[in-house]
């Protein structure tokens, strides 16, 4: 099974001297193609920091992160943007859609950044909306949609660029239990049908129940890594 992400001895320290906080300590982790993994742990255990490393949003203080065969060390800000654009999809807790763009435009925007031609962009964006069962809401702006609908659009945006991995940080935290269940079922279906790799940082037992792999973090270290 090929590795989508490899972390070797990854550590992250925030602050300096007496105020230094060791957020991650010597993390060794491989995410495999097709994983549907949850990253769990108490607050402050390093879930978000590790997701940021895996997603090329931040760089480790020491150690190495490789995404889809590409080591991230020594890449410029623009090169890291390219990695995020082409290899990583993100789903955030607060949806984080662009408020002045419609659902379709939010999805198309990522494709435009990739340089996909206009006609293809539109077709792929509509297909992505259909995949999350929101084809009827293509022209609605985020403020005209419920939280669950916005998060489904965010999933469609994360998937439309055909990334190597989709990272979701507490994607259900702002959703009610029914909507959370629907969203996780959707992501799980996409993982099953398409083999899309998901890593989900969560506290939500409902999410963990769907995971095929459960990674437990504690105090910046991996405290457990096993089948879900």
């Amino acid at each position: 099974m090929s590795n989508i992400v490899s972390c070797r001895n990854v550590s992250k320290v925030f602050g300096h001297a007496d105020l230094a906080v060791q957020a991650l300590q010597g993390i060794n982790l491989d995410i495999h193609a097709g994983d549907f993994a949850t990253l769990a742990g108490p607050s402050g255990s390093g879930k978000t920091t590790l997701l940021n490393m895996i997603g090329a949003l931040d760089t480790p203080s020491s150690g190495e992160v490789v995404i889809d065969g590409q080591p991230l060390a020594r890449l410029t800000a623009a090169q890291l943007s390219e990695i995020r654009l082409h290899k990583v999809g993100f789903v955030f807790q607060a949806y984080n859609l662009i408020p002045v763009l419609s659902a379709r435009e939010n999805i198309e925007f990522v494709l435009e950044l990739q340089g996909v031609p206009g006609a293809e962009r539109k077709e792929r964006a509509l297909n992505a909306l259909a995949d999350v069962a929101l084809e009827g809401l293509a022209d609605r702006r985020p403020a005209q949609m419920s939280g669950g609908q916005q998060q489904r659009v965010a999933v469609a945006r994360a998937l439309v660029s055909r990334p190597a991995i989709v990272l979701a940080d507490e994607p259900t935290a702002n959703l009610d239990s029914k909507t959370s269940e629907e969203l996780i079922a959707l992501m799980y279906r996409l993982n099953q049908e398409r083999g899309t790799t998901f890593v989900i940082g969560t506290h939500d037992p409902g999410v963990m129940a769907h995971s095929k792999r459960h990674i437990q973090l504690l105090d910046g270290r991996i405290d457990g890594d096993g089948q879900g």
């Binding site: 800000a77 995020r84 955030f92 984080n96 662009i98 408020p99 002045v100 763009l101 435009e105 945006r157």
Partner: protein
């Protein structure tokens, strides 16, 4: 889509955007009007002053301006004026003679500058005939007629129909003497002119002062001063061909040029201050808008947008806002200025003062592409250039810290 995004972003806070646009628009409107008024009034002042006596330009013998001696002459004025007639911008040219003389009546005598003019041509160049308050102006066919400024007439104690004795030096150094009949008294409200100037027919001057057909200067006029100024190069070449010099308005009236330059420097300081204040208010607003959206920019970085792309989007927002605000201001400024360009602006109570400078009681702003666009374009350029400040702020953003920011 980035352009569409930028356009929609500026309307997220419609009231703030509208206020920013109103600010820029008002400043642009003011700049269009003020510059058009400023330069329009300069045009009026220059034209008014030049039409009192100088004309829009003159051709003279070399050195005549600094030392107007009667023996510095244009020997062939007819040939020169024929050449001037070939210049499209020149609508009239008038030969003149001038001498400093004594005018006497009875026991009273006063020094005066007497000018020999062609009344028909002169009326197309200067407005002295319109200043005549008693009697009449000189006219074609006059032989021994003279008109005086009212101060000079008062000093001499003369009235219309009186004989006045003229005594001076002719071109050849001999005594020039004549007796002339007063046909008109003018009042220009310019004290020096009213106390010292007299006009007689050019032909009479020629005889009395032994000019032998030569003249001292040729004054010229055009449809507008701008037309004559534009033809300056050609007029200089014609003058040089005749061994003469061409003097433009600034050389004829250097004091006006200096006065305008002084006034303009004060006005420009005011305009620069206006632009400075407006630009920094706008930039402050835009910078606040960037700070408020730091978290959103972090998300855009996370989904793969490059910092430079976000910076360009912010720059585009600034350009859109500035273009719309300035554009509206320019249009409103043109409408406002256009109205006053037709109807003029009257400064009540200042008519007497204006008249002293040959100015009408109404001042008319005058639009040209430069006057309309210069101020707003400077403001636009300043905003667009200083937008580098929010642009650099965006370039320095890191996704994680930006997403952790409020807003």
């Amino acid at each position: 889509m980035i352009a569409a995004l930028a356009w929609r972003n500026i309307w997220r806070q419609p009231i703030r955007t509208a206020l920013s646009m109103v600010g820029m628009g008002f400043a642009a409107m003011l700049l269009v009007f003020m510059l058009s008024f400023e330069f329009g009034s300069y045009d009026t002042i220059k034209t008014g002053m030049l039409r009192i006596s100088d004309g829009f330009g003159q051709i003279q013998p070399k050195g005549y301006k600094d030392d107007p001696a009667i023996d510095k002459v244009i020997e062939e004025p007819t040939a020169l004026m024929a050449d001037l007639a070939g210049v499209g911008a020149v609508t009239a040219s008038s030969a003149r003679d001038m001498a400093f003389v004594l005018l006497a009546r009875g026991n009273l005598s006063f020094a005066a500058a007497v000018t020999g003019i062609d009344p028909v041509q002169e009326n197309r160049i200067t407005v002295v005939s319109s200043y005549v308050k008693q009697g009449r102006a000189l006219r074609a066919g006059d032989r021994d007629a003279i008109i005086l400024g009212d101060g000079l007439a008062r000093n001499l104690g003369v009235k219309l129909g009186d004989r006045i004795t003229l005594l001076g030096s002719a071109r050849d150094g001999s005594v020039a003497a004549d007796v002339l009949r007063l046909v008109g008294i003018f009042k220009s409200n310019i004290p020096e002119m009213d106390r010292q100037v007299a006009q007689i027919p050019l032909a009479r001057f020629n005889e009395t002062f032994q000019m032998n057909g030569a003249v001292n200067t040729v004054a010229l006029s055009g449809r507008t001063l701008r037309d004559i100024t534009a033809a300056s190069g050609r007029l200089r070449r014609i003058a040089a061909r005749h061994g003469l010099v061409y003097l433009d308005w600034a050389q004829l009236q250097p004091a006006i040029k200096q006065g305008i330059a002084l006034d303009l420097s004060t006005a420009m300081t005011m305009y620069a201050t206006l632009i400075f204040v407006v630009v920094f208010i706008i930039l402050n607003t835009l910078y606040m808008s960037v700070l408020e959206r730091t978290r959103e920019f972090g998300v855009l970085l996370a989904i793969g947008m490059k910092p430079r792309q976000i910076g360009r989007m912010v720059w585009m927002e600034i350009i859109f806002l500035s273009l719309v605000g300035t554009g509206i201001g320019v249009v409103l400024g043109m409408i406002l200025t256009g109205w006053f360009q037709v109807h003029g602006i009257s400064f009540q109570g200042l008519q007497e003062v204006y008249a002293q400078f040959g100015l009408p009681s109404r001042i008319y702003p005058h639009m040209t592409p430069f006057r309309v666009l210069f101020g707003p374009l400077v403001m636009l350029a300043a905003v667009v250039l200083l937008a580098v400040i929010p642009y650099r702020r965006v370039l320095g953003l890191k996704p994680v810290s930006a997403m952790g920011a409020g807003g």
